[in-house]
Every structure is written in C-alpha cells, then in structure tokens.
Symmetry: C2
Subunit: 507 residues, 2 copies
C-alpha cells in the first residue's frame, strides 16, 4: 500500500510540490496527497476528492482559495453563496444526493465578517482499517479483504483560528492518522481476550522472529495491569492527534498551514462511540430528553492550573514579559507594595500578596469567559497547529502552552436501547456561545417530534434548526435571536448523529 499511496500522491499533486519532509508514519499521505484508492475503503460512501484534496480543487477553480466539506456537494455558485457574510445562508448536504452515514444531519453557516472565509471544517467518513498483518508475513502488501480489517464511522468538526489551513488539513488527514494507529490493533480489537501487554518487534525490525505474532498475557510473570480494548482505541486516537500536530509542524512552510484549529471528532467502532475533544467545541447526547455531556471545553480558564504550572516550572517560556501568577485585574505600577488578590498554579481560591516588581508583568492567563486569553493572545488551549503563533509584538512562542491531546470519552451504544429521537449533537463554539445544553435538548425534542421517526431528513432539519437558532435573523443592524439578544457572529457548524434512527445500521 505504501507504494500505491506514493503513486497516487505523485499523480494527484497539482501545485506546490511534495513536502520536503515525509510524514512520520510511512503510510500516511502528506498534506497534498490523495484519498485512498477505492479498494482501500470499500465501505466509504462519501470519501471523494475535494474535502480531502485541497490542491486539485484549486486547479479546477483557481479563483476559489477556500473549500467547504465535499459532502455539501457545492457548485461554484453554491460555494460563493456559502462564502457570503451578508446572507449567511445555512448550508446542508442536498436532499437529492446520497445521505451521510446513519442519516447524519449537518448544517453550517459562515461568520458575520470576523474572518474572510468560514474557518470551520467538517468531515464525515466511513474508514476501512486494513490490518498491518495482512502484508506483514511476507513484507509485501496483499489485497485486503473484509475479514482482515474493520470499518469505523467518523465525524469531525474543526474550528480554525488565525487562518483556515490547519482546520482544512485536519479535516482531510486526521482520520487517516487514526486509521494508521488502528492498523496495528485490528486482530487485538477483534479478539475477545485481553490485549497482550507485549508484542514481538515489528517485521521490519530484523533479528526477532516469533512464530506467534502476539505474546499472550499469560506469559508475563510479574504483577500487571489489565488493559482494556477501549483504552487501546483511546490511545490510538490520542497518538493520532499528536502525529497530526507534528505533521502540521513539519509541513507548515511548504503548505501554508496557517493558524490552528480545535478538533472534535467521533469514532464509532465495534459497538462504542469515542468522542475526542481538543478545544472549545462541544458534544452532548440527548437521550430520552436527558442530557449526557460527552466533552468539556479547554480554555485558559479551565486549564489555568496546567498553564500556570508549566510557566512556573519553565519560566524561560514566559520571557521577561509574563508572570505565571493570576491577578483579578492588571496590577498598576503605583500599587507596588500594596496587597493584591492572586492565584498560583496550586490554588483554586484567592489570597492577598504584596505586589512586587515581577507582578507588574502581564499575567500568563487573564480575562474571563470568551475574553480569557493565554499570553493575551489565544482563547483556546488545546487543538492542532499554531506552530507559528507568537505573542503580539514579541518573538515569544505560545505553542508550548497549547496541548494537542484530546480528552476522549467512551459511550457504549449497546448498553441502552436507543430510539430514533436519541442523538449525539456536535457543535463548534459558534453554537454554544449563544445556546446552552437545555436549549439544544428542547430543539431536539421540538424538531424531531414534528417529523416521522423514519424520515431520514429529520436530522438535517434538526441541524439546520440549531444553526439558525444560534445565528438568528438580521434585524437592528445585527443578527438577532427571538429574545433580541445578539446571535452568534462566529462560524457555526453542527452534526446531529442519530443513535437509534433509521440510518443506524451499526455494522
């Protein structure tokens, strides 16, 4: 497969040249690479070039320097309408095309002008994972067959900032990094026995030849932890995020990977949903009216102590400009010697301290709510990219304070009999800035109850209602909600994944 992907890359790359540095994982395409050949993803209903391939789209329509998810099937005219800040038309996959897997609903709208293009990106795929063993015996790739691998269903929302490059790259490649990580685990995940703690060296490593691929747990003599199948999938997702971030670091110059992005992705694999979040998007399950949070947000406020600890342990990361202490407001030079409330990396409460000269530095973490910032610059503390991000008017890098690792929550679909009204809702912060969990649950109830349970368009209608409800309507020189408060001026993207609907053939 390695050669096949390399050929495809060579064939499809249209401009900009291949990256001077190769991806760490040998099978992984670099930023300009193509989607896998058809036989590689036999169950894929939507894996087509376009969302995955930036460069070919550029070639076809050189005036358009941005992309929207392929599954929207936008014409050039549609793409222009989707890019119109004045109209802010809600976009969804066309009724006429093939539906997303599980009849997933999707809707998005561009921001009200805060950035030139919609910096959110989305991806919805069925990804086939071929076992690395299928070609490991001889070292030569064999044709994969169904009984050698498995599929996972995949949904991803990527909320970009400071440019759309990182979000676009993540939407094209993160699921492939996940696939690469899972390739080693195919036999292990399909085996009901506990995962082996130790495996023989990879076939590429000379000098070790074990007749059995797996060292059984029984062969271990020392006390040992039992590791679950779930935790291997979680580890695979975590490492995939890390490798995606490393790839962005390597290829950022060649491919203009601007800015960074939050990533919220969901895998359905062998009966379980894995919800991985790095950033301030949010996932909730609405099940029989009950709200089950499936993520939490990572912001300067929620990660304050982690950030402060890093600044305390590595003061060189703060330069001479920042202090790791938090103050409830900026300290004034005239207040030297007075006592100000502060918190350090160990505290959740506040106490008074005498103000010293170093306290006049700018605090590493400041502000509240949507105005909270790390180093006065960025309002989200996990995600992908941002390798070039510097403090304003300074050379101090911010990336060391950002984490690319998601928190992963697991939901066992088999533990509950889901009805067609039970859904997993994913939304970028454009949704959640103006809508809370309860309001979303109320909209779920209102919209789904007005459609027949077996109408597959109901989830798209729900996604549209959620986006519209957060965007509002133009009135009084702004986008306003029915209560006359301002609607969200941000990009808004929403997936609605039915957990027990007509499309849920969980094979």
């Amino acid at each position: 497969m390695l050669n096949r992907v390399r050929s495809a890359v060579a064939h499809l790359v249209s401009s900009g040249g291949t990256s001077s540095q190769r991806s760490k994982s040998p099978d992984l395409p670099n930023a300009t690479s193509a989607p896998p050949a058809a036989q590689e993803t036999p169950k894929t209903s939507r894996e087509k070039p376009g969302n995955q391939v930036g460069a070919p789209q550029k070639t076809a329509e050189t005036t358009v320097s941005f992309s929207r998810p392929t599954f929207l099937q936008l014409s050039p005219g549609g793409l222009r309408r989707a890019d119109d800040h004045a109209g802010r038309a809600v976009q969804s996959p066309p009724d006429t095309g093939r539906r997303l897997p599980w009849s997933t609903g999707y809707a998005e709208v561009i921001n009200a002008g805060k950035s030139r293009h919609n910096e959110d990106q989305a991806c919805c795929e069925v990804v086939y994972v071929e076992s690395r063993r299928s070609r490991s015996v001889t070292g030569v790739s064999r044709e994969p067959s169904h009984n050698q691998g498995f599929c996972f269903y995949y949904w991803g929302l990527f909320d970009g900032h400071a440019g759309g490059g990182a979000a676009e790259m993540a939407s094209r490649l993160l699921h492939r990094h996940i696939r690469e990580q899972l390739k080693d685990l195919v036999e292990i995940l399909k085996d009901p026995l506990p995962p082996p703690l130790c495996l023989p060296s990879t076939p590429e490593t000379p000098g070790v030849s074990s007749p059995s691929q797996l060292v059984s747990p029984q062969s271990c003599w020392s006390p040992q932890k039992e590791v679950t199948h779930d935790s291997l999938v979680v580890g695979a997702i975590e490492n995939a995020f890390h490798l995606m971030d490393e790839q962005m670091a390597r290829e950022r110059r060649g491919h203009q990977v601007e800015g960074g992005c939050c990533a919220l992705v969901v895998l359905y694999l062998l009966g379980k949903m894995y919800v991985a979040n790095a950033g301030d998007s949010r996932a909730i399950i609405v099940r029989n009216g009950e709200i089950i949070p499936m993520s939490r947000e990572f912001t300067p406020e929620t990660e304050r102590q982690r950030l402060q600890l890093l600044g305390f342990l590595k003061p060189e990361l703060l330069g001479s400009e920042f202090t790791h202490l938090e103050f409830p407001r900026r300290v004034q030079p005239k207040e030297l010697g007075q006592r100000m409330l502060y918190r350090d990396q160990n505290m959740t409460g506040w106490a008074y301290k005498k103000i010293e000269v170093e306290d006049l530095r700018f605090p590493l973490v400041c502000g509240e709510g949507k105005k909270a910032r790390v180093m006065a610059t960025i309002g989200v503390t996990r995600g992908l990219g941002d390798h070039n991000l510097k403090v304003c008017s300074s050379t101090l890098p911010i990336k060391p304070f950002l984490s690319c690792f998601p928190e992963v929550r697991v939901y066992d679909l088999t533990q509950y009999e889901h009805c067609p009204d039970d859904v997993l809702v994913l939304g970028t912060d454009g949704l959640w800035d103006v809508t809370n969990d309860s309001e979303v649950a109320a909209t779920v109830d209102r919209v789904l109850s007005s459609y027949e349970p077996n109408d597959p368009s109901r989830y798209t209608a729900l996604a549209q209602a959620l986006v519209l409800g957060a965007r509002g309507i133009p009135r009084d020189r702004g986008w306003r909600l029915p209560n006359n408060k301002l609607g969200s001026g941000d990009d808004i993207s929403v997936f609605v994944i039915p957990l027990g609907g007509p499309g849920s053939s969980y094979s």
Copy 2:
C-alpha cells in the same frame, strides 16, 4: 497577642529547645508551643492542652511517647488500652464529659500491628479569629471583642505514615495556620460587598498610609474578575496547608517530625462547610439517604498525569533510576526491541511502543489500587511532611512529586433544610478500604433510626458502628467482617458531623 503567645511558648516548652528557625507567620507557634490563652478563643469548648502540646505531655508521663486526641480524655491506663494492637478497642470521647461541638461523633481504633502506634490523629476545635485590624491601627495589640472577629468550627483527621510526628504536628497546628490566614479577612468576610481586589500595604510596611483600609473595587478602571468570599476562605485554607508543610520542613530536625500525613479538614464558617482534602481520606455527606461526595482521593493512580508531567519536564528529579513512562508491568531486558503497552503524561489510553534501554528503568508510577506507588515507595501523593522521604537504597527525594495542597469543596448549609439524620462523615482510608459510600449510608440509616432524633449520643454510636464495621471481629487468626472477608488492619478514625441535629447551633 504576639508577645502573649511568645511568653506562653517560653513558659510551656519543656524539652528539645525552641526551634532554631522561626515560623514564617509571626503569630504562629512553633511545634512545641502552647494553645492560645483562654480569652483568645472564647467559644472554644475543647481547646485544651494535650492534643495541642506534645512536649508537656511527655514531661508528665515520660514513658508514653505517643499521644491520642485530647478530647478522648484518656487516662494513662486508657492510653495503654488504646495502644493495644491485640484488643483493638474502639475509642470515643466519654459520655460523661463535655460533648464535641455540634454533638459530633468520633471513634477510632488502632491498627492490627502495621505500626507501633496509632498514626492517625484527630482534632476538633472551635477557633476564634481575631482581626489583624484590631491591633493594626496603632501597631499594638488590643483586647479582642466579639464584634471584631468570628469563630470557625474545625474538624481534622490526619493519617500519618512512616511515623506519627507529622500527623501529630498537623493536628496541633494546622487550624492555627488557618486562623492566621483568616485574620486578614475578618472585615472582608463579614462585609456583604464583594472583596476588594487590592488592599493598602500592611501597617508594618512604611511609606503607604491610606485613610481607608480597603481600596474599593470601584476604584479599579480595568476589566476585573469578581472574587467571591468563598474563594478567599478556600485560598486561606490552601495557603495554611502550604505554610504548615513549610513549618514541618523547617522544624523537622529539632522536633523529629517523622514521616508525613494525609490531612482531611472541615471548617464551618459563616454558613458554609469547607471540606479540604490532601491525601486518601474521604468525606461524604449523607443527606436524606442521598450520598454527596465531598472529597476525592489523591493517589499515584488519580494523579498519574500530574506526576508524569513533572518527571517529563524535570527529568533530573527521576535520576537515572526512573522513567516517567508507565508500563502495565515491569519491562524485562530480554524484551528490548519488542513492543510494550505504555502511557505518557498526555495519555489516558494505552499504545504500543518499541522497548528501548531507558524503558528498562523503574516506572515513576506503578501498581494498582492500594499497591500503587510513586517511585516504588509511597502510595499517597498529597499531604503534609515527608521532607526526608527518599527512594529506598537511594538518595533521590520523593517530596518534589508530592503536593501539600488540598482540594477544597464548599457546601452551603443554608441552601437545604437539614434533618437530624443528615451527616457529614469523615474517615481515614482504614474505613474506606473495606467500606464503600453506600455501605456507610446504610449504616447511617440503620444506626440513627435506632436512636431518638434528639439523643446527642447517636452520632458517637454511629462513628463507633462505622469503625467496628470496618475493623471486624477477631476470628480465624485475623480481623474479619461478617462476610468473612478481612477487616481493615489499618488505623481507622471517623468523625460524624450532624448537619441538622440538636447540636447544630451554627452561630
């Protein structure tokens, strides 16, 4: 007051001399100091020498080198019985004496032989906090009066390890450190207005003289966070733990402060309960049969990622002996080049990695459950003391990995009408190792329902039942529970604090 305490110290110190280094807080007694004079704690029902004063007790009875809480009022014979590993008699305050505040129930039992003495300690006090302002105007102490200060109710459990010194010292002094921290806050906490973010310099600092003690929040021009009264109390408790730990570090040589201790303390102050936990003791509220967790345990398992991050950022703390990576079992030299499951500081899941030479080092965190250890040595990751703790057969200190900071949870007593059966249960791990929250709640229901609601002895009976239920009875060469499983061989200490009982005059 400063001079009065110093005089008392000079008067009462019996042996060992005063510490060569003074406490950081000028008003704080050092390890051998006396309890405050009577007028300092006008509401104190139980603040007597003995629990607070180690040295005088030694003088009175030189054969006894250990102490039990004063409120047990143990005679020399009683002290010997409490120290008997064979009988393991449950100890409670006598029925005949004055009850603990709020009719608090208490019971304890010594371990089954794991250490020479009972290394748990307990403290229950009513502590008067005099405002520092009452003597700040002229710099001379004035007689405190009620309207200048307030009282807090205080309960503390201290579970010692590697010696009883740290637990004993903490039981005598931690509440005084808390009192010191609160002295600056008396006016602020009594004032319904939000706390001022900035205060003028302390009177001792020359050069600043503000007619008003407080700089009102309105005078701040920049965006600012609102800080609650609660969070000031939380900050005071956090800093008190830190100062207690620093005092142990300073005085450990002079006063043989051996080992370390977990600390679980509760403050009742101005309508709210503050539950602060550093270690593996546990607090739960049982309210109308419902269980409300009021703490979480800090162990190598629950704090794995914090520990690993520190080892990763400061590899010098690991020496050449440890790796910050976790493996599910010990890696064998013959497995070099093979692939083993691992987790690093960023991961909650597991993945395979090729085993390299450094992976043969001992993992910083290993083991499961009660056998989990940091550096193969200690099974608890927060608490006080342990300044001399080294890795076995090594000079590597473990203290850098331990945190003295508690997690503090706040419970507003005024938000719910409590009945006499609603209680806050505090227990050292001797209780929780063999009893879970539901079993404790069932015992609460069973015991309290067999007593009249206004019988103040019911909470002691409940504490005794909980301790007995965890200890078991001697049978088959061991202490066994009714289900024939082994009872706890550890020291067991339990407070039962009624939240709406006859003793709850929350003044």
